[in-house]
């Protein structure tokens, strides 16, 4: 008896260890989840070729018509929030609730234009090193205390010391309180992207008094204080959270009285919950479920281009890929439309350039390399590979493995033999960061809605490896264009620089850009007041049903 008992204990230990190994082998999600959209100055972006305009269920202005029925809204998301302390998070899911609960200095409207939030206006000094924000005098936190310049200074000073907000505040030299309602942020050097960085949810303005009083407990449901249109009522991790209208809100009062977010990790289950009427809105409908939503008259699918790009990257330090002709040949050899049609089931568009199509600075003038295997063979022959060559591609997860198989098949047509290595997410990043790879597939989601975030980390020579430049590209001209654009205070000139950069990158071809995925929202057909936000930062405060 005793013996069998011991054996069972050992078995328990082994079972636990085995379970861990088994789970560890599972595919990890690779999609970046940061998003704090904001667009710089005038919207210079042309409407993207496909994907359609933001379809709106009903304009928010109708909300006051007295015909309002149910105003407690339930929506579904894939994942749970990470933290309620803005500075402790940088993921999409958390930023959605934080955008409803807190305010930032500036914000973006649905078209991506920069608009005032707590600041009614701002000025940039001549050399672009100081941003002065004039705060609204009527703004108050949910407990009725006024939002002051001191709170802004406190928030930014605190952010400088916290890991997840460090990169957003790294260019700040000091924050000066000019008076109760005016604050000047001095930068170490001219840095144009700062204008949109202040819209990041992790720079949401905190109440100095509340944070100081709560200490380490700040971020618990009972211990947060924002100045946004909603207040947090309840959070049951991994299940749901509830936010309710902030009756002290100082700007346009929301129509919606309460918003419940249900965490439904499985894509089909999310769609079914919408179709069955259990939820009123699904934030992210999987590409495979879009057709079901479209076929059902009770629900609507709203799509727009997202701010993400999926690409095949090439390590330019490896022998064959050091040759520009080889990289261009691969661009010619791939039929990008096939990836759009099969991998994302047509829910997106071919990536023509290196910047996401939703980001100001993206140009439609660059044309994706046409599918031309003959041209590819010519270029390969010129480069000294008339019979092709063998190389490896590193990927993770099911979706990217399927993409890699398509690449394998298409490149075989021009004589290139591709060997696919599938890794677990962490292992993949390790290999890519060490520069062992030849080709790889990754995605990039622009977190700040500024073209700088789509270029500096990915192509600047100081960012090889972990930081984002996994093509290991080193090019003086690219470095120069990126830093010039970041320092340029004239927006029109800035956009010109990004255009030049995209033409240059297109020619250099460190990647073969594959596709821009669509951002798909599902709503009940009779839900009123929903409008798509260009950066997928939709506002839910105007949702209601009519009686």
């Amino acid at each position: 008896m005793r013996k069998s008992g011991n054996a069972k204990l050992v078995a328990a230990a082994m079972a636990a260890a085995m379970m861990l190994t088994a789970c560890g082998g599972g595919g990890a999600s690779s999609e970046t989840t940061t998003a704090a959209p904001a667009a710089g100055g005038e919207s210079t972006t042309a409407a993207p070729a496909a994907g359609g305009e933001g379809t709106t269920a009903a304009p928010a202005a109708d909300a006051g018509s007295g015909n309002i029925g149910r105003t407690d809204i339930v929506f579904a998301m894939q994942g749970d929030i990470v933290a309620l302390d803005p500075a402790q998070q940088q993921d999409t899911t958390s930023s959605i609730i934080l955008k409803h609960v807190y305010s930032t200095l500036m914000d973006t409207d649905n078209d991506g234009n920069l608009v005032g939030d707590l600041a009614e206006s701002y000025e940039i000094n001549e050399d672009g090193t100081a941003f002065t924000y004039k705060l609204r005098e009527d703004a108050v936190f949910a407990d009725g205390t006024p939002v002051t310049a001191q709170d802004v200074k406190f928030t930014y000073d605190r952010a400088k010391d916290m890991p997840k907000t460090k990169s957003n505040t790294s260019k700040i030299q000091e924050v000066v309180v000019d008076n109760d309602h005016q604050v000047t942020i001095k930068l170490v050097e001219p840095y144009a992207p700062f204008a949109t960085i202040v819209t990041s949810s992790n720079l949401s303005i905190l109440s100095e008094a509340a944070v100081t009083a709560a200490g380490d407990a700040y971020g618990d449901v009972d211990n947060i204080l924002g100045s946004g249109p909603f207040v947090v009522k309840e959070w049951v991790p991994n299940d749901h959270y509830v936010i309710e209208r902030n009756e002290n809100y100082w700007d346009e009062m929301p129509v919606t009285t309460s918003i419940t977010c249900r965490v439904i990790p499985e894509g089909s289950a999310r769609t079914i919950a919408l179709e069955a009427g259990e939820v009123d809105l699904v934030w992210n409908v999987d590409p495979t479920d879009c057709a079901n939503v479209e076929a059902n008259p009770d629900v609507l699918l709203l799509s727009q281009p997202s701010s993400s790009i999926e690409y095949l990257g090439m390590n330019v330090t490896k022998e064959v890929f050091a040759d520009q002709r080889v990289r261009q040949a691969i661009n010619y050899a791939l039929d990008k439309q096939a990836f759009v049609d099969t991998i994302i089931e047509g829910r997106g568009t071919i990536a023509n350039s290196y910047i996401n199509s939703a980001i100001p600075g993206w140009t439609d003038e660059v044309e994706a390399y046409p599918y031309d295997p003959e041209k590819a063979k010519e270029l390969l022959a010129e480069a000294g590979y008339p019979d092709g060559f063998s190389c490896k591609i590193y990927v993770n997860g099911d979706v990217r493995t399927r993409s890699a198989q398509m690449i394998q098949a298409q490149l075989a047509e021009v004589g290139i033999t591709v060997d696919i290595s599938t890794y677990e997410w962490g292992a993949l990043l390790d290999s890519l960061n060490a520069g062992e790879h030849e080709m790889f597939i990754l995605g990039w989601s622009n977190s700040s809605f500024d073209a700088d975030s789509s270029t500096y980390q990915l192509f600047h020579s100081t960012n090889h490896g972990a930081t984002g430049n996994r093509a290991f590209m080193t090019d003086e001209k690219v470095d120069q264009l990126i830093s010039d654009a970041a320092q340029e205070t004239d927006n029109a000139k800035r956009m010109e620089l990004y255009k030049e950069l995209q033409f240059y990158l297109h020619d250099f071809s460190p990647w073969c850009p594959l596709y821009y995925r669509d951002d798909n929202v599902g709503v009940r057909a009779d839900l009123k007041g929903f409008e798509l936000h260009k950066g997928a930062n939709h506002y839910l405060g105007n949702l209601y049903y009519e009686n």
Binding site: M1, R2, S4, G5, N6, K8, L9, A12, A13, A15, A16, A17, M19, L20, T21, C23, G24, G26, A28, S30, T32, T34, V82, A83, Q88, Q90, D91, P163, K164, K166, S167, S170, G219, P237, N238, D239, H240, R262, P265, E266, S268, A269, I272, A273, A276, E278, Y423, E424, W425, G426, A427, L429, S431, N433, S445, S447, S453, Q457, A466, T467
Partner: protein
């Protein structure tokens, strides 16, 4: 008996130490830079270093493990790398959800399995036996997530009888419990059948029948009780693993259980969360096993006698 229980409970200490040690080192050996994973894909080098320092990941693994164990001895499971929230309350918030689901699932499983298993054995090769065994085979072979989705499509989408997921009233338990229960039922049915078949061929069953004991009594009192030992073992193991969380089922039904936490934490290399959950699961699993061993004594007098001798 109580000495035996105490001994088994004390044995838990080395088991927990062994498990945490293994898990800690497997996690630290597994590829992937924890700081980079926590900082996120778009983090720059400066952010990654700041996160590394903040989490104490710049120290040697053995030092990190030592610190973790010292804190664990004081009852402190640390904070999640990802959310910075305390590990113990985070896990304890979802453990009851998993436990409740496990309880109903095992009830469904036993409720289906015992009757079918017994009937199959007493009427071997009959129609019922054949149908039962084919159903059991199907039950074992059906993937949980598929069955779950089919149930959702039928009962939530088409019929609109049951909520598609999440926790709430008793209605929310029905589909997940059936999904998990049927898979386990299949296994338990087969075990009940074969164990019963073995027992009803024993001499004492023939003796009982020869004495003229009614067939019902022979099966229920003489055969079943003796056949239950391996069945209880299987039920115990199944229940133990249900308590560990059923990740796929939890995902399909948006059930806020432990399984999802463990898998999400492993993916994001959130070591304190993984360890916290594993420690808790190790203890739970061991206690369930202990309970099963004690249960033997109540089912089988021969085993009870052994305890008394000790």
């Amino acid at each position: 008996m109580s000495r035996y229980i105490l001994k088994r409970l004390v044995m838990l200490i080395p088991v927990v130490i062994g498990v945490t040690f293994m898990v800690y080192f497997i996690l630290s050996l597994s590829p992937g830079d924890t700081a980079a994973m926590i900082a996120g894909e778009t983090a720059d080098a400066e952010t990654i270093e700041a996160v590394r320092k903040d989490l104490g990941l710049d120290q040697p693994v053995i030092v990190q493990y030592g610190k973790y164990m010292l804190n664990l001895l004081r009852g402190d499971m640390g904070q999640s790398y990802k959310s910075k929230r305390d590990v113990f309350p985070s896990i304890m918030a979802s453990f009851p959800n998993t436990a409740k689901l496990a309880f109903w699932s095992i009830l469904v499983a036993v409720g289906i399995a015992l009757p079918i298993g017994i009937i199959s054995a007493t009427r071997q090769y009959s129609m019922i036996d054949n149908v039962g065994m084919v159903a059991a085979l199907l039950g074992v072979a059906t993937p949980n997530f598929w069955l779950g989705l089919m149930l959702i499509i039928l009962f939530s989408l088409n019929l609109g009888w049951l909520p598609s997921g999440g926790m709430g009233g008793w209605k929310n338990y029905i589909m997940p419990a059936i999904t998990l229960g049927t898979g386990d039922a299949a296994l338990i049915t087969r075990m009940t059948r074969s164990s019963m078949l073995e027992v009803i061929r024993q001499d004492y069953i023939r003796t009982a029948r020869a004495k003229g004991v009614p067939e019902k009594k022979v099966i229920h009192k003489h055969a079943l009780k003796n056949a239950l030992i391996p069945v209880v073992t299987v039920i115990g193991i199944q229940f133990g693993s249900l308590l560990g969380g059923a990740t796929l089922t939890e995902t399909v039904f948006a059930w806020p259980g432990v399984g999802r936490i463990v898998v999400d934490s492993i993916k994001s290399k959130d070591t304190p969360m993984v360890l916290g959950a594993i420690v808790l699961l190790t203890i739970t699993f061991s206690v369930v096993n202990l309970a099963v061993d004690i249960l033997y004594a109540f089912i089988d007098p021969r085993i009870k006698a052994q305890y008394k001798r000790k």
